[in-house]
């Protein structure tokens, strides 16, 4: 067996390297037919040198404009020509208003619910005899609810909402068949509701990340397809010549998710084979579904707010295709040292390290674009959240590559460090960017201003301290746990006892984040239902001229 697997492994590595070289060649030789203005396609042709952040106030926007545009080095971006009859920004937004509102509002409800389940699950470690009389409140149920609600309820729905809003804007057209997407949104929500009751009733599939019964999963597959189809058909009726990099990420995510979800749900796996499929799926959901939403949004909002195109457009394309190539092969690093074929694990470890290529491409692009403009964060809530998320992406990706190395993994595997890492990714990176995106989108959607800048900043600080405690202090606790577990002189029950202070840190972090989400959700609620005053309301005409 050994020589065959060795040859296989060598061939696979060779294919990856050749694919990478072809990619670099085709980008550098212009095979992707990018016009000179490609990265500028996101700017308004009528008013290209205008910074934009609807989440901010008039004063701060003026400050932002002074800070960025008035500076001597500023070069007004030149948007490329469009095809006949492009839709205005307002038409694009109007065509997605209903579905975006529906998806984002749903996602906020699931976020708050999911946070409470997570907090309760964490408190179970601090008070292990709390709520021990009923099955419905056991740790296993609460944890499964937390994971599934924040992944499929919050991140997925918010990501889909932000994406479907972005797509017509990026393509200067209107959304095709919004009603189809709304039906899809309903099916997705129905899946979540049935899933919640199923988990409370003990009907779990027992597979991490796929706990909902597979019959409910059909609703997600169908719902996701109904939301994805309008997006893909909108791409076909675009009014721009070039697809902006965000479109690549979003379009690919909607193609990848059904594929992953259906293959992972097939009822044909057993034993270690099932474990392999399980972790192949779980990591790909992060990499090929959630990450594209986060990166696609960051590639739009960072340059959009500061009125400057991204640093290197070629690099962004390299980042995208390298992510597709390497991320799809990393999942098995969850089973290092486990009873699975060694060549498989080696493949995933190497791919995890190769992920440094797309991560570096994205990092250079995001951070170089922002370089020298960090003062702008003071005037733009959107930028504050999105840039924080982008920084966390660089951090968590580097951490992930390191954690996949056998020598590091020996210590961090099976510990709370893995859990902390997952939160740094899904929360620190993806959720922060989605928060920023929602702060940007909501005023455009509702025609209303955010009432309180202070509440936005409170949300930011609570979330930030929460994730620093979770991804930093709790991660450190996990590393300590791993070091002690690797030392057979320390008894296992002593290792467990030593994790207790860190488990309190986790509950504290969870409390801060839950509070942050309440601030966020109540602010939305307040703005939406506040009486129309001069302060809260933006007339539509003004929206257009500002856009």
């Amino acid at each position: 067996m050994l020589p065959i697997s060795a040859i296989l492994l060598a061939v696979v590595f060779l294919v990856s390297i050749i694919a990478l070289l072809i990619l670099i060649w085709s980008i550098s030789s212009g095979q992707f037919s990018m016009g000179p203005g490609s990265p500028n396609v996101i700017f308004d042709r009528k008013n290209p040198g205008k910074v934009e952040d609807p989440a901010s106030t008039d004063d701060k926007r003026e400050n932002l404009q002074q800070l960025l545009v008035a500076s001597s080095q500023y070069r007004i971006p030149q948007p490329p020509p469009e095809k006949n009859d492009p839709a205005s920004r307002r038409d694009s937004d109007a065509s997605t208003a209903l579905i975006t509102r529906y998806l984002l509002a749903s996602s906020c409800v699931w976020l708050v619910l999911g946070s409470f389940f997570g907090l309760a699950a964490s408190l179970k470690f601090n008070f292990p005899d709390w709520l021990n009389q009923d099955y419905e409140f056991t740790f296993g149920v609460l944890r499964a609810l937390h994971l599934n609600l924040v992944i499929y309820g919050w991140v997925s729905m918010a990501g889909m909402g932000v994406s479907i809003w972005l797509i017509p804007r990026l393509l200067k057209t209107t959304l095709a068949s919004q009603s189809l997407a709304i039906v899809g949104g309903h099916l997705w929500n129905l899946g979540l509701i049935i899933g919640v009751f199923a988990l409370f009733a003990g009907m779990t599939d027992g597979v991490e990340w796929l706990e909902f019964p597979w019959k409910t999963d059909l609703l997600f597959a169908l719902g996701g397809a109904l939301i994805g189809l309008p997006i893909l058909s909108t791409i076909r009726r675009r009014k721009v010549h070039h697809l902006y990099v965000s479109v690549w990420y979003i379009g690919a995510a909607f193609v990848w998710f059904p594929f992953l979800f259906i293959i992972a749900n097939l009822p044909i796996y057993e034993g270690t084979q099932h474990a392999i499929v399980n972790w192949w799926y779980a990591h790909n959901v992060l990499g090929l579904w959630i990450t594209p939403f986060g990166l696609g949004a960051a590639y739009y909002f960072i340059p959009k707010v500061i009125g400057k195109p991204i640093h290197s457009y070629q690099l962004s394309l390299l980042g995208f295709w390298a992510l597709a190539l390497f991320y799809s092969q990393v999942g098995l690093h969850h089973l290092i040292g486990g009873p699975v074929p060694t060549w498989l694990v080696s493949l995933s470890v190497v791919s995890s390290v190769m992920m440094l290529i797309p991560v570096a491409a994205v990092a250079i692009n995001h951070h170089r674009t922002m370089w020298g403009h960090f003062r702008a964060l003071r005037f733009s809530p959107t930028l504050l959240f999105v840039v924080t998320g982008a920084i966390m992406y660089t951090l968590v990706s580097a951490q992930g590559s390191a954690q996949s190395l056998r020598i590091v993994n020996m210590t961090t595997h099976f510990t709370h460090a893995t859990v902390a890492h997952a939160h740094l990714g899904v929360y620190g990176f993806a959720s922060f960017i989605l928060f920023g995106a929602i702060y940007f989108i909501f005023p455009r959607l509702s025609g209303r201003n955010w009432i309180s800048q202070r509440l936005i900043f409170t949300h930011y600080l609570l979330s930030l301290f929460g994730i620093i405690l979770y991804g930093g202090v709790f991660f450190y606790g996990g590393v300590i746990q791993g070091i002690q577990m690797q030392n057979s002189d320390i008894g296992f029950s002593e290792v467990v006892a030593n994790t207790k202070p860190y488990l309190w840190v986790r509950s504290l972090a969870g409390g801060l984040m839950t509070l942050a989400h309440l601030v966020f959700a109540l602010h939305i609620w307040w703005v939406w239902y506040a009486p129309k005053t001069k302060k809260s309301f933006i007339p539509q005409t003004q929206l257009e001229s500002r856009a």
Binding site: M1, G140, R143, G206, Y269, A275, G337, G338, M410
Partner: protein, 194 residues
Amino acid sequence: MRRTIGFIVVAIGILAYATVLLVGIPSLQLNELALPAEHSPITEPVARGRELYIQAGCIYCHSQQTRDVNMGPDIQRNWGRYAIPSDYVGDRPHLLGTMRTGPDLHNIGARQPSEDWHLIHLYQPRSVLPNSIMPSYQYLFLESSQVPQGMKEVPVPDQWKPEGKRVIATQDALDLVAYLQSLDHTYPIPATTE
């Protein structure tokens, strides 16, 4: 890129390629395994207990995959020899787990064969392991002053019993313990594998 369809095909193609590598080939490789003859028999209570283990979410804190000595001191901790793929033949869903908030359970049946110990531990983990942070699974037990005919009383130490009552194991508790007792993969590694 101008061609949407081409883009979709390439995107799917890359993922399909990865799927063949990470799902397809290992599936072929692991397909011919047979359950070792010494594997503990999967009786009806064991199968029911396994369902309860899944429902209670034990997997979130307990792995069932012991590692080779090069990866960690599992054997020194008395958790048993490293796991092999044929230990798991027929398991669906798999219960390998990726967390060790609590100890590995691949060989808990060999390490802790006592039914009473497991029942007491499930009812109140801290009565046998003072440092434990495991939730108490008291919904699997009845509390009554009388022990009904044919039911098993759990010898919980007095300080952990509810006042004036006795603790009685439900069938679910007994099944779950039967499953835990069946977790014994200490048989030698069959010569045919690896």
